[in-house]
């Protein structure tokens, strides 16, 4: 499956502030189909803020994020259909089960069938835990559950904040596979990660925050 709509994500002169303090300023990047961008920087450099800014959760104090030719704020609904964000928090309802959470997610993003949910759960090894409430899942299982959303969505752009945290070796290999496949099919991925990524077949772009 090849992702057809060619698109481009650009950040221009981005600046974010927290209260009075400037977290980063004049950040520029350009991401096209089939590219992987890793955001690097020490703790507190603003990696998470940058990702939230790219998603549209945080308005930049200066500069803009463009999806195609238009700023993301002006095409919020289209942009959110084409983007998936997985942040530090899993974003799952504690009192719903894994399956129920994914079904709810499908209702939020529009579409997808029971079969797709089951296959996603199976791929991430959560089929046994599917009907257990999220409250009772371990941190790693929650992370795996959040990653199911990558398989369910039809998003072109994946924005992943520390996607490898809490994952065991198997899950980490799986995620590497998902990312590689997505990029090879023409998708775009932006991620933050503290260790070196293991993608022998993919060119990785880097964005360094001081």
């Amino acid at each position: 499956m090849q992702i057809t709509p060619l698109n481009q994500l650009r950040g221009q002169h981005l600046e974010a502030t927290l209260g009075e303090a400037c977290i980063f300023s004049n950040v520029n990047f350009n991401l096209e189909n089939g590219q992987l961008l890793q955001v690097l920087g020490p703790n507190g450099a603003g990696k998470t803020s940058l990702l939230r800014l790219i998603c549209g959760l945080l308005p930049p104090t200066q500069g803009q994020v463009l999806w195609g030719d238009a700023p993301i704020e002006s095409q919020r609904e289209i942009y959110h259909q084409e983007m998936t964000f997985i942040g530090h928090k899993a974003g799952m309802r504690e009192t719903l089960s894994a399956v129920e959470n994914l079904q709810m997610d499908c209702a939020l993003t529009g579409g997808n069938s029971e079969a797709a949910i089951e296959s996603a759960l199976q791929q991430l090894g959560l089929l046994q835990a599917a009907t257990i409430l999220v409250r009772q899942l371990s941190a790693g299982q929650r992370r795996r559950l959040a990653l199911c959303r990558l398989l369910l969505g039809t998003a072109v752009l994946w924005v992943l904040d520390e996607p490898f945290s809490n994952l065991d070796k198997d899950a980490s290999t799986l995620l590497h596979g998902f990312i590689e496949q997505h990029v090879q099919q023409g998708g775009m991925v932006i991620l933050t990660c503290h260790h070196d990524l293991d993608f022998p077949h993919l060119p990785i772009e880097y964005l360094r925050l001081e």
Partner: protein
């Protein structure tokens, strides 16, 4: 279809923590029972203060129930996903509020006439109580939700919420309790219903949209 599904899961989430939904109703019952004990047991006095007492009780119970509206979703990161959904945020908020009203507002409306009986309300007044609550509680919840969105993530959220929101409850309280009072004296209540219905339409039009804006700003900070 997708919206119905979301409503279903909102209800399910509430059902799984049903005990939390029962607290406001119990508080409502307790507040109202305090009055016959402290003011007077004279039926005439009680039926005179009843409209105000029941309405203030409902108001406080609504306020108590609002606390959990967005907090869990904010803490778990689900709110981010609502903001990033391709569905319209104000529609999502409206669905959430509708589920909240079904789980918390409706039981209050069912319990209120029972408490009205304790306070010797007449049959007409009981009817007016139910109608005015059906019109009034959604307004209370819409306004309360706006307060919750504003105070999201602050310390002492509950207290601040009360200070912010109670002044805006006053019009609803005035028309609601006056409807019950008038019906108790066998006067016409269409005027009060009209005002409450108008307020409800007005808040339905503007509040979900306002909450969406407040949440977008709140999550960014």
């Amino acid at each position: 279809m997708a919206l119905y599904k979301l409503f279903h899961y909102e209800l399910l989430t509430a059902k799984r923590s049903l005990h939390e939904c029962l607290y406001p109703i119990m508080v409502f019952g307790l507040i109202v029972t305090l009055f016959p004990l402290s003011v007077s047991t004279d039926p005439k006095t009680l039926s005179m203060i009843a409209p105000g007492v029941v309405w203030v009780g409902v108001l406080l119970a609504c306020l108590l129930s609002m606390d959990r509206l967005f907090r869990e979703d904010w803490e778990s990161g689900f709110l981010d996903r609502m903001l990033l959904s391709s569905q319209s945020l104000s529609v999502l908020i409206l669905i959430k509020l509708l589920a909240h009203w079904v789980v918390l507002g409706l039981p209050l409306i069912l319990v209120a006439p029972l408490l009205g009986l304790f306070l010797h309300l007449t049959y007409q007044a009981e009817l007016a109580l139910v109608v005015s609550l059906l019109l009034g509680t959604p307004i209370l919840m819409l306004i309360g939700a706006m307060g919750v969105a504003l105070t999201l993530g602050l310390r002492n959220q509950g207290l601040l919420l009360m200070i912010l929101v109670i002044p805006f409850f006053i019009p609803v309280l005035i028309f609601g309790s006056s409807a019950v009072g008038s019906a108790n004296q066998q006067l016409s209540v269409t005027g009060q219903y009209g005002f409450l219905a108008g307020l409800l339409l007005l808040s339905l039009c503007f509040v979900p949209w306002t909450i969406a804006g407040i949440l977008r700003i709140g999550v960014a900070n």
